[in-house]
């Protein structure tokens, strides 16, 4: 395996860190590192899930709305039903998986395009979240039984926040699954040419279905982390647009939206880069409104350079 792309993202990431740190030494303060890595953890987990779907040539646009729906659901379970916090978390993550399964069934069995299926999800889940809460912002202040868990999620261990540890565990497993397991090679084969994969005896529908479930489950995990992190879930705005961060991280990290190609290390590093760029804007007190221009610009330049390199390679090997 070649790590050229991952290495370049890493170098850019290091450069951005150095630049920001020199301009504002607070960048390297413990508080900022903890906070930034927490964001990387939360975003990284669902970006990996998105990556699996993207390898099949699909996309999941519903992630942000899933965050809102699961977030308000979690809050209601804890504050109104006073449920055991671990059970509530388990339910939320499972619900994420079930939504993923639903998307997967619609894509593989009903042969709908993932863009359409998850676009409808994006609208429906958001609207459901707003309906069941009457558009009222939810929190966890009435859930004393969940206090310990919330503190755990927002806490840290050995200098890294809990979400970052969860991301590390997720990424290691995802790396092994994608790059070292039989499922991984079958997934890549399905993404590169589904017809050929079918002729090689691969159950391409099942594989595709599994990626949507994985994406849903990981979105469920991120939803819990995000809800406990913000502790305030406004059904209208919570998680809005987050799916695009995941798509961006995947594209930047070497996934092809046509499917068949992807790198777990790439998507994790790209997530880190995007979060550090957001943090840089804060740290250097640039205008907040600049954020999306910067993120968009970085992705565009990254993809342009990548395309140029690829074309060059193609010309050489043609």
């Amino acid at each position: 395996m070649k790590f050229g792309k991952e290495l370049s993202i890493f170098l850019i990431l290091a450069a951005v860190c150095m630049f920001t740190g020199v301009k504002n030494p607070n960048f390297f303060s413990q508080a900022n590192i903890l906070n930034t890595t927490k964001m990387i953890g939360i975003y990284g987990i669902f970006s990996i899930g998105m990556g699996f779907v993207i390898i099949t040539g699909g996309i999941d646009l519903s992630v942000g709305s899933v965050f809102a729906l699961l977030g308000v659901g979690l809050s209601m379970l804890l504050t109104e039903h006073h449920m055991n916090p671990w059970l509530a978390v388990l339910l939320a993550v499972t619900a994420g998986g079930v939504l993923g399964l639903l998307h997967g069934v619609l894509v593989t069995k009903a042969k709908l395009q993932s863009f359409i299926v998850t676009l409808c999800g994006l609208m429906i889940y958001r609207s459901l979240a707003r309906t069941i809460t009457g558009d009222n912002t939810r929190n966890f202040s009435d859930a004393p039984q969940a206090k310990a868990l919330i503190e755990f999620v927002n806490g840290d261990w050995k200098g890294l926040p809990t979400p970052m540890w969860l991301l590390i565990v997720t990424a290691v497993i995802a790396f092994i699954v994608l790059h070292r397991s039989v499922f991984g090679i079958r997934l890549l084969a399905t993404g590169q040419n589904e017809e050929s994969a079918r002729f090689a005896g691969i159950s391409t529908q099942r594989i595709t279905l599994i990626t949507y479930v994985v994406c849903g489950l990981l979105a469920g995990v991120s939803a819990v982390l995000l809800a406990f992190y913000t502790s305030s879930i406004s059904p209208n705005g919570h998680g809005i647009g987050y799916e695009l961060y995941a798509v961006a991280a995947c594209v930047l990290g070497g996934f092809s939206l046509r499917g068949g190609d992807g790198s777990i290390i790439g998507v994790v590093l790209a997530t880190a880069l995007l979060q550090v760029l957001r943090n840089m804007i804060n740290m250097l007190q640039w205008s907040q409104q600049l954020e999306f221009s910067l993120v968009g610009g970085v992705i565009l330049v990254g993809v342009l350079i990548d395309g140029a390199i690829r074309n060059r390679k193609k010309r050489i090997t043609a």
Binding site: I176, R180, S181, V182, F183, G184, I185, R186, L188, A189, Q192, N193, E195, S196, A197, R198, F199, A200, G201, I202, S203, G260, I316, T317, A318
Partner: protein
């Protein structure tokens, strides 16, 4: 007059063309002969403006050109019909034919006139389809006819046909030869690339041989014989493959009763194949032969009973067929037989990973050894098992598909058009391999539109006509005439 002089083209690590000379006069048909990898396609791509030569000159009517794109070549009346079809599936026939030069009326596309004109072109190539038929609904052979029809719709002075008959039936090929004769009389010069030597004898005025990127000699019309052409191409003589036939009274391996495919749901097809036997399946394109292979392999849903060595088998997906030891080498190598973006080794191991995993993790070492064995067994010409499959020649790609299945101990092998677009040398190797497999006791079902191939390789020949298996001929009764008679709906 089209002149190529001293053209060279180099790719990293390979000299594809080394100072090649060739010429083509108006109204002349020049056949270009060479094994896959000899440089024919590269040369044609340079003439057609797809590649640019590193050295040498290309002149049309004494004027020197260096085409930078196919459209520049087209401007000078040079049109290439490539072996890899370039029709767009989601457009209809007339839209494909006029793609990029749509007729307009008041700024809008004039569909009616495009379709009216298309009717004439289709008639010329003998394709009985309405111009508004979506190309997705056409078979590969029919798509090829659309490509050729497209060439006719342009003002072409020099036409390059790369393996035009590789998926055509005899009847369709004969029609093409008539068209070629028409074009000749209109003063069109034609470069003709084919691996079917018998048809080169029919159409060509001259034969030019290429070997390893260099001129390998030429034959005049009078010198064109089968033996001379083979020698020109490979530099040696190849003995035609002979079939030995199965040992008598061997057990039935594959038994198919009342198989109904999704294309012909009301027509049951029954046949059986014994150990060591090759059943050829002939017929016109669209007769339902590929549908039978797809149904048996679980690609398309079907009804009926299938049993292998007496054990009844439900095939719901290719996985079921594979687990039962029944494999399909499909017609479309590039999009179904292989994942061309993966390496040779990955392609060979892909269906067999179960054997090379523990706890779901890949055992790379033993998998690579397994792939390397497959490559060696079939004599696949590849620099290494890490070579991307797309970079191999057609013949070697086909060997990779065969290697993939042979490594899994097949009982039944289904092969759809085993040598489509494959050069004579590789063809002979594949025939030998098929016979060797049969001798090992496999049951082989071979669909082929190449009559010579059917007759040379099969022990029995089944003939299909519009979904019906209209007859199965024993070796001694199988002749071109008998097969054609059944293929067009005649009685046994």
């Amino acid at each position: 007059m089209l002149h190529i002089h001293g053209v060279s083209k180099r790719f990293p690590g390979v000299i594809a063309l080394d100072s090649v000379d060739i010429s083509l006069a108006p109204g002349e048909v020049v056949a270009l002969l060479g094994e896959n990898g000899a440089g024919k396609s590269t040369l044609m791509k340079i003439i057609g403006g797809v590649y640019q030569a590193d050295a040498g000159s290309l002149t049309v009517d004494e004027v020197s050109y260096s085409f930078r794109s196919p459209s520049e070549a087209l401007d000078k009346g040079i049109r290439v019909v490539f072996q890899e079809l370039s029709v767009l599936e989601n457009l209809d026939i007339s839209e494909n034919i006029f793609l990029g030069r749509e007729l307009k009326k008041g700024g809008l596309v004039d569909r009616k006139r495009m379709r009216d004109l298309t009717v004439d072109y289709l008639e010329k190539v003998g394709l009985k389809r309405s111009p508004s038929t979506p190309v997705a609904a056409l078979s590969i052979a029919e798509r090829q006819l659309v490509e050729i029809a497209k060439a006719f719709s342009m003002k072409v002075r020099y036409l390059i046909l790369d393996e035009p008959t590789s998926s055509l039936t005899l009847e369709e090929s004969n029609r093409l030869f008539e068209i070629i004769a028409d074009l000749k009389s209109e003063g069109v010069g034609i470069f003709y690339i084919s691996h079917r030597l018998d048809e080169i004898g029919v159409v060509a005025d001259r034969v030019v041989g290429l070997r390893d990127g260099r001129n390998a000699g030429a034959l005049t019309k009078e010198e064109i014989t089968h033996e001379a052409m083979v020698k020109l191409m490979v530099g040696r003589d190849i003995a035609p493959s002979v079939n030995s036939g199965p040992s008598s009274a061997s057990e039935v391996v594959l038994d198919v009763q009342e198989l109904r495919t999704s294309r012909y749901p009301s027509i049951p097809v029954s046949f059986s194949i014994r150990a060591g036997e090759i059943l050829g399946l002939a017929g016109l394109v669209g007769a339902g032969r590929s549908e039978v292979t797809r149904a048996l392999f679980g690609i398309d849903p079907c009804q009926g009973s299938i049993s292998i060595q007496g054990e009844s088998l439900k095939v719901k997906s290719p996985k079921d067929a594979i687990n039962a030891g029944m494999f399909l080498v499909p017609e479309d190598r590039r999009n179904a037989g292989l994942t061309t973006t993966m390496s040779v080794g990955e392609n060979i191991v892909l269906p067999a990973w179960k054997k090379f995993s523990s706890l779901g993790l890949k055992k790379q070492g033993s998998a690579r050894k397994y792939a390397a064995e497959g490559v060696e067994q079939l004599n696949v010409k590849t620099p290494s098992i890490d070579q991307i499959a797309a970079n191999l020649s057609g013949g070697n790609q086909q060997k990779v598909v065969l290697a993939r299945w042979l490594q899994m101990n097949p009982k039944v092998m289904i092969i759809d058009e085993p040598t489509r677009g494959i050069d004579v040398g590789s063809k002979a190797e594949i025939y030998t391999e098929l016979r060797r497999l049969a001798a090992q006791g496999l049951a082989i079902l071979m669909v082929s539109s190449d009559m010579e191939e059917v007759l040379a390789v099969s022990d029995r020949v089944g003939v299909m006509h519009e979904g019906h298996l209209s007859g199965i001929l024993d070796r001694k009764d199988a002749s071109e005439e008998a097969i054609m008679n059944l293929a067009v709906g005649g009685a046994v």
